[in-house]
Every structure is written in structure tokens, then in C-alpha cells.
Symmetry: C2
Subunit: 150 residues, 2 copies
DNA sequence: ATTGTTGCAAAGATTTTGCAATCTA
DNA sequence: TAGATTGCAAAATCTTTGCAACAAT
């Protein structure tokens, strides 16, 4: 079963109808998997092939996909709301490196926090269900450019 | 020099005038240091003693305080923009535990990421300038309540 | 006195909602 | 066919801005 089919099955299972708009949105999210798109960006890309899709539908579809756990709704430090397909292999171990210079958002897929979560549980008696970890700084590309300039 | 005086000195140094509205805002942030207030919350609290302060002024004051590094503008997973006084002792080692049940935001003041930042730098050649770490889960209080119920 | 600052109201930006028309199952 | 879904426009939120009056240095 392809990833698309598996997502479509999740929707049906949750009792949602599979409309062309929803299918197109899921396909688009699959295509741009590595990126973190905003609702407006998704809307603009969708318009290219589906000129009369409405922005409200995009918002509603993204909400629904968030509900059924197909996408992650991520709010970064800049306050931008971005949507991101949840994929099996990435699971919940998914952190971000945000470059202060070029603004690029890089994902890293490894769990860095296993030991720290244990520590949190012991010290604060806090049951960790999920976490968000973001590093802000200067990415490799921008660092290289800086060196080149001098 | 009190914390208030030191903040007022920062403002003057940056060329800003010290108006009653600004002083009141800083005093309020000092008073509610442990909390993360939204602009609206700050506005409402301010109104109690300064009934004719404007919301726009609150936003402008908070922007200015962010510029001069007196407050942190933090955007959590819920998308709410919150403001938080930067204090010497807390520095940049300041993480959050957010309870999924009661919504309480708890700060923890220790640097958990020293080793991880080194790893990030080596693996991704990313120069870390700052970080944001948030744990989502169930706080001690809510966990206790759950146990009591059974 | 000069320049920054304020409050207000209007404008922006983003997201949500009401509703009649339309589609999916 | 029945109920969910859509597009549109209007509304709701949150934040910013223009401007004349005002206040801090």
C-alpha cells in the first residue's frame, strides 16, 4: 500500500469523505515532504492545478489532517504556522535547525532527548508525552559564505 | 541597583524615554516574572491601575523591550505569543514543561543541552546561537489527581 | 522646545464561520 | 438520497500603523 493510499484509508476510517481537494492536498504534502509549508503556500501551490479551490477549504483540510494525525501543525519561533506530513520513519523524533541568516529550516531525525526525558521525569515528576526542540543559529551554507567573504 | 532601575537604565541607554506606561509595564512584568503573559493579559492587568493605557502602547512597549533584550518573546505550540522577562540568573538556559491537561507552563532553569549542542555542531556544522526546548505531557499535579480518582 | 510617545480608530494579516450550492458514499 | 463538503464572503482575532495631541528630556 502506497503512502497516499494509506493516508486515504486513515481518512475513510475516521469517517471523512475523500474529495478531490483533499486528495490533491495530501498529494501535495507528499510531494513537498521535506519542506514545512504554510497554509498560504499550500493554497498557492494547489491553485496551480485546482484553480477554484478555496482558502477556507485548505484550512479545513489541514485541520482535519492534523486531527487524524496525518500532519503535524508546527508553530515556529517566528510565529509562522507550518504543516508537515507525519511519516512512519520520522515518528516523533524530529527536531529543527533554523538558520538566523537565511531562514532555512532543516530537520534532523534522531532522538537526542532519551536521557533528558528520563531526567525530567525523575526531577519534576512530569510525564513526557512529546517534545519540541529547535536550535537557532548559523547553518553550514551561511557559515561557508561568511568565510568566503573574508 | 534594583532590577527595575537596571532595566530603566537599559532603556535610557538605548535612547528610549521612560514614560509612566513603560515603567508600569516593566513593574508588572517583574511582578509576574514566573508567568508567561500574553499582550492581552498584560493590557488587562495594566488597565487596573492605568485605566487609559492603550493596547497599541502595550504592543509597542513589548516590542521595544524585546528589541533591547529585556524581555523574551516566546511562541508556544498553542501559537499564543507570550512575553517573559529576561533575568540574569536565568540566562538562556530556560526550558518549558507544558501540561496537556491543565495547560500550566512550568519553567526549568538548567542547561540540559550542552552535550547535544556539541553534537549538533559536529554532525551538522550548525553554529548554535540559541535553542528552544519544550516538553509536552502531564504535570505532577494532574498525575496526582488522576491517581486520587481511582 | 524638540522629539519621542501616546491613545484612538482604522487598516492589515491570518484564520474561522455561516450558508446555499454541490458533491461523495 | 442524505449528510458531509465546498467556495464565497463576512466575521473574528490578533497585531500594526497613521495621526493629532501630549509629555519627557
Amino acid at each position: 500500500m502506497s503512502e497516499l493510499e494509506s493516508i486515504e484509508a486513515s481518512l475513510r476510517k475516521a469517517g471523512f469523505k475523500l474529495t478531490p481537494q483533499r486528495r490533491a492536498t495530501v498529494e501535495l504534502l507528499l510531494k513537498y515532504q521535506t519542506q514545512h509549508l504554510t497554509a498560504e503556500e499550500i493554497y498557492a501551490l494547489l491553485k496551480q492545478n485546482h484553480p477554484n479551490v478555496g482558502l477556507a477549504t485548505v484550512y479545513r483540510t489541514l485541520d482535519m489532517l492534523t486531527d487524524v494525525q496525518v500532519v503535524n501543525k508546527i508553530i515556529f519561533e517566528d510565529g509562522m504556522v507550518r504543516f508537515d506530513l507525519k511519516t512512519q520513519d520520522h515518528g516523533h523524533f524530529h527536531h529543527h535547525l533554523i538558520c538566523n541568516i537565511c531562514g532555512r529550516v532543516q530537520e534532523i531525525h534522531e532522538d537526542l532527548l532519551v536521557d533528558i526525558e528520563k531526567e525530567i521525569k525523575q526531577k519534576y515528576r512530569f510525564e513526557v508525552a512529546d517534545h519540541r526542540l529547535t536550535f537557532l543559529g548559523i547553518c553550514d551554507r551561511c557559515r561557508q559564505k561568511r568565510i568566503d567573504k573574508n
